[in-house]
């Protein structure tokens, strides 16, 4: 029996590229298009080498026509292809809402299940560094309210690769949301061809006192905060939902049932957010859960200002997560919390650097 190859260190961007390349190698009906897929930047490296390997018929640049190109993906999928459509800026995908909501999400349903619509929309979400109100948006909160879609938000390289392959192979329209802020984060990827099932959460860290639920870029923030909370004597369980649609509610409830409270993190404006909905769903599922706290950390209800100064307190981060949990346990100003703050300062800090 051949020995299993050593896990490799890959960035999330490299893992997405690798997952895409493997899926294209295995199935010639997979095509990839979008603005920048063949340009010098190759969508932040995520499409590097693909046109060279698979040719311009399967990997191609397109006009700046987000709405039509979304509908074209639906038609191509109906005709037997498996399109992947990239958006370097998720914000531009708002132009495609008709074709996403009225076509992609419904083409199977509204014809009584005659068709399958296998396609992937890749949305890359900007953050900070002056990206401002129209270059920092994400829309998972909108999309969870669109029946017919699946919505995926990877937080690490192994998941990014496996979720990408699973999304491409899924027979439903999948919106694959990538946080640009963690594209460069490196973590271990096994050399196997496993898929991550869409709709299954992952326990990123075991704990007994507090449950922290997050997706995407907020998972590493939660893990940093959890490290500091250990020093403050609070044991945190961190669960990475991996998909926001469908939601693995059972996995969250298992955690909630053993801890004393839960904190939901969400990169979305608070009102009507996915996170707010998740808090409500958990509480509805556990109406008799008494005494336990529940908290939400999300964006304020105003768009991102461009000003770096004004942005410094905008996002949920390890500091806010730490403070929220400390406050929930009534530990403010305690000796334990000071020990935690020192550990928080020591937690590996690699802030996102621009441009882009």
């Amino acid at each position: 029996m051949p020995s299993e190859p050593e896990p490799r260190n890959l960035s999330i961007a490299e893992a997405i590229r690798e997952g895409t390349a493997e899926a294209m190698r295995e199935n010639e009906s997979v095509i990839l298009y979008g603005l920048g897929v063949n340009d010098p930047g190759r969508v932040f490296g995520t499409t590097a080498g693909l046109v060279e390997e698979f040719g311009k018929e399967r990997v191609f640049e397109v006009p700046t026509s987000e709405n039509a190109l979304t509908g074209i993906a639906v038609g191509a999928a109906l005709g037997g292809l498996r399109p992947i459509v990239t958006h370097q800026r998720a914000d531009f995908f708002y132009l495609a809402m008709d074709q996403l909501v009225n076509s992609a999400a419904k083409w199977r349903y509204m014809y009584g299940g005659q068709f399958t619509v296998p396609l992937v929309f890749r949305l890359i979400v900007g953050k900070g560094w002056g990206q401002g109100p129209t270059h920092s948006q994400t829309m998972h909160s909108w999309l969870v309210n669109v029946p017919g879609l699946k919505v995926v938000c990877p937080s690490n390289s192994s998941d990014a690769k496996r979720l990408m392959k699973a999304s491409i192979e899924d027979d439903n329209p999948v919106v694959f949301i990538e946080d640009r802020s963690i594209h460069g984060e490196v973590s271990k990827v096994l050399a196997d061809d496993r898929r991550t099932v869409l709709g299954k959460a992952r326990v990123a860290r075991d704990g007994v006192d507090v449950s922290i639920f997050a997706v995407g870029a907020l998972v590493p923030e939660a893990l940093k905060a959890a490290h500091a909370l250990d020093a403050a004597g609070v044991s945190s369980e961190v669960i990475d939902l991996r998909t926001v649609k469908p939601i693995d509610l059972d996995a969250l409830l298992v955690s909630v049932d053993k801890t004393r409270g839960f904190l939901v993190l969400d990169n979305a404006h608070s009102s009507g957010s996915f996170g707010e909905n998740l808090v409500g769903r958990i509480n509805s599922a556990r109406p008799s859960r008494s005494g336990g706290f529940f908290r939400l950390l999300a964006w304020p209800d105003f768009p991102q200002p461009t000003s770096a100064g004004a942005m410094s307190t905008y996002y949920p981060d390890k500091q806010k997560i730490f403070s929220e949990v400390i406050e929930a346990f009534g530990l403010e100003g305690s000796k334990e919390s000071e020990a935690g703050r020192i550990a928080l300062g020591e937690a590996a800090q690699k802030d996102y650097a621009g441009p882009f």
Binding site: G71, L78, Y111, Q114
Partner: protein, 318 residues
């Protein structure tokens, strides 16, 4: 002669089916908006003679004619209007969301312009998979006012896709005539031509002329030259949505109505079928269609509604 008979039979069948819908609409059993093609059957008839079974087609809110012309199952269509589980879309879609995958009728959409890029994507799949088919995209004149139309035509021209845009211009977007929607000298087919699409116009109420134009354009598109567009000038006899006539609303002038009523495509073509044998043929065709229609409506009325669970079941592919 067979061309005239074929065109006539197609148009007559569409007309009779839709008149049956209109007649029974007041029973409140077909509880979905219906947009009838009565008066503008010409383009659909021409299409039916030229399209092959492996071709794809998509259409609009006004899709009955195109669905039937592509060979879509009549019983399944009528059941769909009744909201029954035996409908082509299991009763989930209604009149505005018809599809029959078995004959390549890949869907129709209520949102103006919505199915245009889907048809273009089907064209892309034909090109990449080299299946030697054609993607027919039906649209109305108002759809050419949507941004996605221009995006879609541009992409088709850029990629030389095997797509044939069938634009039925009946002059009105609901009650709004062309004068409030585009400048007087802007012609739909000329704009398409400017975008690089081979384009032409034809009197859509002249079925034989429409058939000639559609055949030529389909040959061109099949030869790989790129997409084509045909602007059919035609006329909707009844209201935009619903079974009635709405001439009393006066949004179309009496002169306009009189001119178009005089060029009803079925009456005009019928004038060429006046021999004794033609008359006998026409009457047997009519009888056969009547039987088919009665069967379809009886089956639809007898069928059951889908359950809520059956609707939820189809949402995701397993």
């Amino acid at each position: 002669m067979s061309e005239i008979r074929d065109l006539f039979r197609q148009m007559l069948r569409i007309r009779m089916v839709e008149e049956a819908i209109a007649d029974r609409y007041k029973e409140q059993e077909m509880r979905c908006p219906v947009h009838l093609s009565i008066g503008q059957e010409g383009p659909a008839a021409a299409f039916s003679l030229v399209a092959s079974k492996r071709d794809y087609a998509v259409s609009t809110h006004r899709a009955h004619a195109h669905y039937l012309a592509k060979g879509g199952d009549l019983k399944a269509m009528v059941a769909e209007l009744y909201g029954k589980v035996t409908g082509c879309s299991k009763g989930i879609g209604g009149s505005m969301h018809l599809a029959d995958k078995a004959v390549g009728f890949m869907g129709s959409s209520a949102i103006v312009g919505n199915s245009i890029p889907v048809g273009v994507g089907l064209g892309l799949s034909i090109q990449i998979r080299q299946t030697n088919a054609l993607s027919w995209v039906f649209l109305g004149d108002a759809a050419t006012e949507e941004g996605v139309y221009y995006e879609s035509v541009n992409f088709s021209v850029l990629k030389k896709l095997p797509v044939l845009f069938m634009c039925e211009n009946n002059g009105f977007s609901v009650y709004s005539d062309e004068s409030v929607r585009r400048p007087p000298n802007q012609k739909i087919f000329e704009v398409a031509e400017f975008l690089g699409c081979k384009a032409t116009q034809v009197d859509g109420n002249n079925p034989t002329e429409s058939h000639r134009v559609v055949s030529e354009m389909a040959d061109y598109v099949r030869s790989g030259g790129g997409p084509g567009l045909i602007e059919f000038h035609t006329f909707r006899l009844r209201e935009h949505c619903g079974p009635n006539f709405d001439d009393h609303l006066d949004y179309r002038s009496p002169e306009y109505l009189a001119r178009w009523r005089d060029s009803d495509p079925i009456s005009l073509l019928g004038e060429q079928l006046q021999s004794a044998s033609d008359a006998a043929w026409a009457s047997s065709v009519r009888e056969a269609i009547e039987v088919e229609i009665d069967d379809a409506f009886a089956a639809a009325a007898a069928a059951r509604y889908p359950t809520s669970e059956e609707c939820a079941e189809v949402l995701y592919a397993k």
